[in-house]
């Protein structure tokens, strides 16, 4: 034994254990997110179960089984649960009851022995609603203006049809509310600002009154349009409210749900594996393409994905030229000496400066100082309401560009330094100027290194949240930063961001249990995005290294 220790083998094993533990942790974290995030979309069966209540009476529940865990008796006693016997620990189940409008809460814990008679009723239905979360129950009748039009066997197909119609109507309503009415509001605002601009430019009273007259006419036209749209909206609303579904909860309470309130419905207990798979894929698609609902705890994350990508693209546009040129300057043009050494070390070290510091700088310098001056110069008519003097897309991108600049510089410099000097010499010997050598020989060879740097900086930017909290990310942005109205990309708008979405829903939302699966799903999307980007960078870099290894040999 002693001799064995002397050989050092156990210590080597211990070191191996360290890396093994790291690997277990990485894989564990990725696996946890993948499993938790991916499983959310699988349609779970609905269970009907009898629960014994505190007063001894029984209550029928229809619920989704979320998870089971063992709890020690002492923990239960501390939380005031009456225990029937003296076991050391008890199994308890977390059930998702849904029906927040009926029960007040949609998740509840039940001790295993309080629950009995588990079964899966075939006609149980899950209704995803725009308000109040999910409904679990049994469909009874489809009503059209209080007239029964379908029940029993015919109900399900009729419901599908009615839902398709209601959703189409809902889309129309959103189009009008967000699109057309938004346009009118913008035009009205432009009229008001026009007047203010004239006042600021010192136009004469006659000019102003002439403009005001003109504006009043335009405004009247817009008001008329608005009234028209309003009327159309009202018609659509009445149309949408035409149909409703009569449902009954597990304990027999009857409810009527307007179809305008239903996003989607399915009967999980009747679904085959194929149906469930289809449902799974459709749910994922909806999650990726829908707007969030109910204070971000339900619905999709499309604006967050869109915001993240827009911001990252804008950042790349800023960071690439500056990063690459700065690296070329440091490597090819600047006078090599102590000063340059200091600058180079400083630039490299900026990659290690906490991101929140960049956020603080962005808020103070970009937003308040630069933004404030831009407002004073170019948007005086909107003051005191700030345009660029408030956190927004552009400042977020600029801050992240500054944050990731060192990454691009380091990577590009590394690429430049790996290019064999023979290639450079060859080009110069053939009579090319320095810039020709640079742009036609050196830079093309170093492109993969630049790409690596760019991808790494994108991955870093996509996952960074702390600085963004200060310079332009909000929990709910009413509109996307890119749309069809001039100037198409709205640099002053606030955006949503995947990482901030995770922080906000997980730590600022009142109903964490309900939003948990969505949180994992959002996290999964973010992690996938970043892992894919990093894999690409690593792949590119390895390829590059091999290439030069063979060339320099």
């Amino acid at each position: 034994m002693r001799a064995w220790f002397k050989t050092g083998t156990p210590w080597i094993w211990l070191n191996a254990g360290a890396i093994a533990l790291c690997l277990v942790m990485v894989i564990g974290v990725l696996g946890l997110i993948a499993v938790q995030g991916g499983s959310h979309f699988w349609p779970a069966d609905l269970q009907r179960v009898e629960a014994v209540q505190a007063d001894g009476s029984k209550k029928t529940l229809l619920a989704e089984h979320v998870r089971t865990e063992q709890v020690s008796a002492i923990t239960l006693k501390d939380s005031g649960v009456a225990l029937p016997d003296n076991a050391e620990s008890y199994a308890r189940h977390l059930l998702k009851l849904g029906n927040r409008d009926v029960y007040g809460r949609d998740f509840a814990w039940f001790l295993d022995h309080d629950l009995s008679g588990w079964e899966k009723p075939a006609n149980a239905i899950v209704i995803e609603r725009r308000e109040w979360g999910n409904f679990y129950g049994f469909p009874q009748q489809l009503l059209q203006q209080d007239k029964v039009i379908a029940e029993g066997e015919a109900l399900w197909p009729a419901l599908q049809e009615a839902m398709a119609r209601a959703n189409a109507l809902h889309d129309d309503i959103t189009d009008i509310e967000k699109g057309d009415i938004g346009k009118i509001n913008k035009a009205l605002e432009a009229l008001r600002l026009g007047k203010r601009t004239m006042e600021l430019q010192g136009a004469s009273a006659a000019e102003i009154s002439q403009y005001a007259q003109q504006a009043a006419e335009e405004q009247a036209a817009l008001d008329a349009q608005y009234a028209q749209l309003q009327q159309k909206l009202e018609e659509l609303y009445t149309e949408a409210k035409r149909d409703s579904l009569k449902v009954v909860t597990a304990e027999g309470k009857e409810l009527t749900i307007s179809l305008s309130n239903i996003v989607h419905a399915h009967m999980p207990n009747q679904m085959s594996l194929l149906d469930k798979s289809v449902h799974y894929v459709v749910s994922i698609w909806n999650f990726l393409s829908d707007d969030p609902r109910e204070a971000n705890t339900e619905g999709g994350i499309f604006p967050a994905i869109f915001g993240t990508i827009t911001m990252v693209i804008l950042m790349s546009i800023i960071v690439t030229p500056f990063g690459v040129l700065a690296a070329i300057y440091l490597r090819e043009y600047a006078k090599q000496g102590t000063m340059l050494k200091i600058i180079r070390i400083s630039v490299y070290n900026l990659a290690g400066v906490p991101s929140i510091v960049y956020g603080v700088f962005g808020l103070g310098f970009f937003v308040y100082i630069m933004g404030g001056n831009i407002d004073a110069l170019f948007y005086p008519e909107k003051l005191p309401a700030p345009t660029f003097g408030t956190p927004g897309l552009f400042w977020a991108s600029l801050t992240l560009a500054l944050l990731t600049l060192p990454v691009v510089i380091v990577s590009t410099e590394e690429g430049l330094s790996r290019i064999p000097s023979t290639i450079r010499m060859g080009s110069l010997a053939l009579g090319a100027t320095k810039s020709e050598t640079l742009w036609k020989v050196v830079v093309p060879l170093a492109t993969p290194a630049m790409m690596t740097g760019l991808i790494l900086s994108i991955a870093r930017a996509a996952g960074e949240v702390a600085p963004l909290m200060l310079v332009g990310v909000v929990k709910l942005a009413p509109t996307l930063p890119v749309d069809g109205t001039f100037p198409f990309v709205h640099l002053d708008q606030k955006i949503m961001h995947l990482g901030f979405h995770v922080y906000d829903v997980g730590f600022q939302s009142p109903n964490v249990e309900a939003s948990r699966p969505l949180l994992y799903a959002t996290a999964l999307v973010l992690v996938l995005l970043i892992v894919v980007l990093n894999m690409a960078a690593i792949h590119l870099r390895n390829k590059l290294r091999e290439k030069y290894r063979s060339e320099s040999d």
């Binding site: 050092g8 254990g17 050391e88 990063g323 510091v357 960049y358 995770v502 997980g506």
Partner: protein
């Protein structure tokens, strides 16, 4: 190219080359492009460097003003029509001033020119003089005049703002909250001293009259339910134990505590919570023996007393609760001494600062919480001022001489509320039992005393970083040693990218998992977590030991370099075992729950604590340390290790004796970089702790770090406020700290590289 063309004159005429002129143009164009490219790149490069420098300069420029002192600049001077002032006041926009003279005349005047404005002559009864004067909380504008016939008159002055034609207009208004006719307090006896204050229980007056009696009077406005009429209900209480002489009476805004300066060195404290059972508590010597208290005033909020003495001393006092729940008037801190007796103390309206005027004409600008004296200078050469008045937003100051001369000053005193000393030392805050380190920077009220001690935040940062490093350093370094030196290249090619992915995981994801998954998990399986942390190394050794007994063919197949593959399933199995055994262990040793057992034994346990942060942030830091340390170990020249092995050393001996000493500077640099990263990390601590700024190193309590504090508070602060600048200071501290750490690490690494290439 030129050479070739000139040396071949024969073919020059039929040359396919462009003509000489064309080539010259091309050359010019090329050299122009070359220059353009050079200057363009230089411009971009230098502007990037400049942008980085801007960060540093800008942060400094935002922080700088905190440490600047106050400035007083004389402006206009003019004459107003008045005798010796009893009371003076300046309105918010410094447009209108007020002078209350001893004859009972309220003269408002233009504070720019001295032109007389509105004038209100109080209707005093015939043959009386004003024998006492009192002022309530400065923001209320409440004044009381005590008369020589035992009566008192309470008045209130306010400034109404209106904006006719978009121009500000300030109109002073005088009202009589307790009626226009004087109130009889002690008929026939001249009031020698008086106090007035508005509280939730009504308006209270405390009077000391010529017959040596001290009395307390409350006027409560009661509204008739049916008619809506308001009537004043007056209640009088005699107070016990009146001192022989009274120079100043002060009543706080709760109407519970009464302070009386006797005219000598003493200040008496009375508890008048229940005026019917008023109680004399104690007397304190507020100034040095033989000196007199010449001025006493409340700071805003009426909690702290500032006491000025005849020797020019200034000190702060407030009530402190002792262990028996009794309040005592305690000396808190001294301010820089004035050269002569203090004449007047003028508190600021919205923060805990004050101005003090002494008999030699020196004006001191002091601040309570930070104990700073921002300025102490003669106000004007050869002038002796009787009184001063400060604008409620601390931008202007009026000084009144006895002959009616008024000098206006511009005041600049933006950030008196913090000092380097107050940020890093214990400070005694109002209402606290003792000195303490507290971070509590903002609240809705003006009376709030901002507590900006950076100690809890700095310690919290250190705490989080230290626990993270305790977790990460051994794991990362051991991993690096193994990966660089023992692992087979095939596996290494897979492991390194995995660790790089680990580095790329967004911290918001780690924070979210730490807060919502790990924290409840650790709380529930606390004993398992400890078992894993402590026993896992033993399990690894055990596995290594058992591996010896496996058949030789197996061992050779998966021999050296593949240990990881065998250990991974063992680790997973062991973790699963610990977790599933945890309830039974809890049941056996800790009455069912280790977490509960901690609470029962007096150890505070928060769900989101330093242990969780340590693990989560350790996870984030491991790849940083790993990649640098691995690089250092891997680049140790092969001939060194091969030499060692050739001399008969085992691989492990080579590792300890040759590789480790050579690579140790690199490993040290790796640890430094990791520490720098842990110090600045924001999202993980923000999400995995309760963010309470506590000062302790308890593993089971949370913390608030500098970075998380910035993220939480910066969006909510007013731009340019002291709080805003202190947060910038926190950012600057983080910046400088990590920058220095990383630079040191980088320098070490570069030296190491040099050494390797020399070896």
């Amino acid at each position: 190219m030129q050479q070739t063309s000139t040396s071949a004159p024969v073919t020059a005429r039929q040359s396919l080359l462009p003509s000489g002129e064309k080539r010259a143009r091309l050359r010019r164009w090329r050299s122009f492009k070359d220059k353009m490219s050079k200057y363009g790149i230089a411009f971009a490069g230098i502007s990037v460097v400049a942008a980085f420098a801007t960060i540093f300069i800008y942060l400094f420029s935002e922080v700088g003003p905190i440490f600047s002192s106050a400035s007083i600049e004389p402006e206009q001077s003019y004459q107003i029509n008045s005798d010796k002032p009893l009371y003076t006041n300046l309105e918010r926009y410094s447009e209108v001033g007020l002078n209350v003279s001893a004859s009972g005349e309220l003269q408002f005047f233009d504070a720019m020119t001295g032109a007389a404005g509105e004038k209100v002559q109080l209707a005093l009864p015939a043959d009386t003089t004003i024998s006492a004067f009192a002022r309530g909380e400065p923001r209320s504008g409440l004044l009381a005049l005590g008369l020589s016939n035992g009566q008192a008159l309470v008045i209130k002055h306010e400034y109404n703002l209106s904006y006719p034609n978009d121009k500000r207009k300030v109109v002073p208004v005088v009202t009589y909250p307790l009626g226009e006719s004087p109130l009889d307090l002690n008929p026939g006896q001249a009031l020698q001293s008086l106090a007035v204050q508005e509280g939730s229980a009504g308006t209270a007056l405390v009077a000391f009259s010529a017959d040596g009696k001290l009395s307390y009077h409350v006027f409560e406005a009661q509204t008739e339910f049916m008619t809506g009429e308001t009537t004043l209900v007056r209640t009088d209480y005699p107070l016990p134990d009146a001192p022989k002489n009274v120079s100043r009476i002060l009543l706080d805004t709760t109407l519970h505590n009464l302070f009386i300066a006797e005219g000598n060195e003493k200040i008496h404290y009375y508890d008048v919570t229940d005026p019917a059972q008023a109680r004399y508590v104690e007397a304190v010597n507020a100034v040095a023996a033989g000196q007199q208290v010449t001025a006493v005033e409340f700071l805003v909020g009426a909690v702290s007393l500032i006491v000025g003495g005849s020797d020019g001393s200034l000190s702060q006092w407030f009530l402190v609760r002792d262990e028996h729940n009794n309040f005592h008037l305690k000396h808190i801190r001294d301010f820089e001494k004035h050269p002569a007796a203090i004449r007047q103390i003028e508190p600021e309206y919205s923060r805990k600062g004050f101005l003090a005027l002494d008999t030699s004409g020196h004006l001191g600008i002091h601040y309570g919480t930070s104990a700073r004296t921002l300025s102490l200078e003669p106000l004007a050469e050869g002038m002796n001022f009787e009184r001063i008045a400060i604008s409620p937003i601390n931008t202007a100051l009026l000084a009144f001489a006895a002959d009616g001369k008024v000098q206006r000053f511009a005041l600049e005193n933006a950030h008196p509320d913090v000092s380097w000393k107050a940020m890093w030392n214990e400070v005694w805050y109002e209402g606290r039992g003792e000195k303490d380190y507290i971070w509590q920077a903002s609240s809705g009220s003006d009376e709030f005393e901002a507590k900006m001690s950076l100690v809890p935040l700095a310690l919290g940062t250190l705490k989080a970083a230290v626990f993270a490093m305790l977790f990460a350093t051994p794991l990362a370094i051991m991993s690096a040693l193994y990966t660089a030196y023992f692992m087979t290249p095939k596996l290494r090619g897979k492991v390194k990218p995995t660790i790089e992915i680990m580095a790329a995981l967004p911290t918001v994801i780690l924070g979210f998992l730490a807060g919502l998954w790990l924290a409840p998990f650790v709380e529930k399986y606390l004993s398992a977590v400890f078992a894993i942390l402590l026993l896992l190394p033993l399990m690894m050794l055990l596995t290594a030991y058992l591996w010896r007994f496996f058949p030789r063919s197996w061992r050779e197949r998966f021999g050296l370099g593949w240990e990881v593959v065998i250990l991974i399933p063992m680790i997973i199995g062991f973790i699963w075992l610990c977790v599933s055994l945890s309830p039974a262990v809890d049941q056996l040793f800790f009455n069912g729950s280790l977490r509960q057992w901690f609470t029962d034994n007096g150890i505070t346990y928060d769900q989101r604590n330093a242990l969780v942060v340590g693990i989560a942030m350790g996870f984030a830091v491991i790849p940083n340390i790993f990649s640098i340390a691995e690089d250092a170990v891997f680049n140790v020249p092969r001939h060194l290790t091969q030499g060692s092995l050739a001399l008969g050393a085992t691989p492990w001996q080579t590792m300890i004796g040759v590789v480790l000493p050579t690579a140790s500077p690199g490993i040290f640099a790796a640890v430094m970089v990791g520490f720098g990263r842990a110090v600045g990390e924001t999202m993980i601590v923000l999400m995995a702790t309760g963010n309470s700024p506590v000062v302790n190193f308890n593993l089971f309590e949370g913390m608030r770090t500098l970075s998380a504090n910035i993220a939480v508070e910066l969006p909510e602060t007013a731009v340019g406020s002291t709080h805003f600048r202190v947060l910038f200071l926190a950012a600057l501290v983080l910046f400088v700290f990590t920058f220095i750490f990383n630079t040191l690490a980088e320098v070490i690494r570069q030296r190491l590289r040099q050494r390797f290439s020399n070896l």
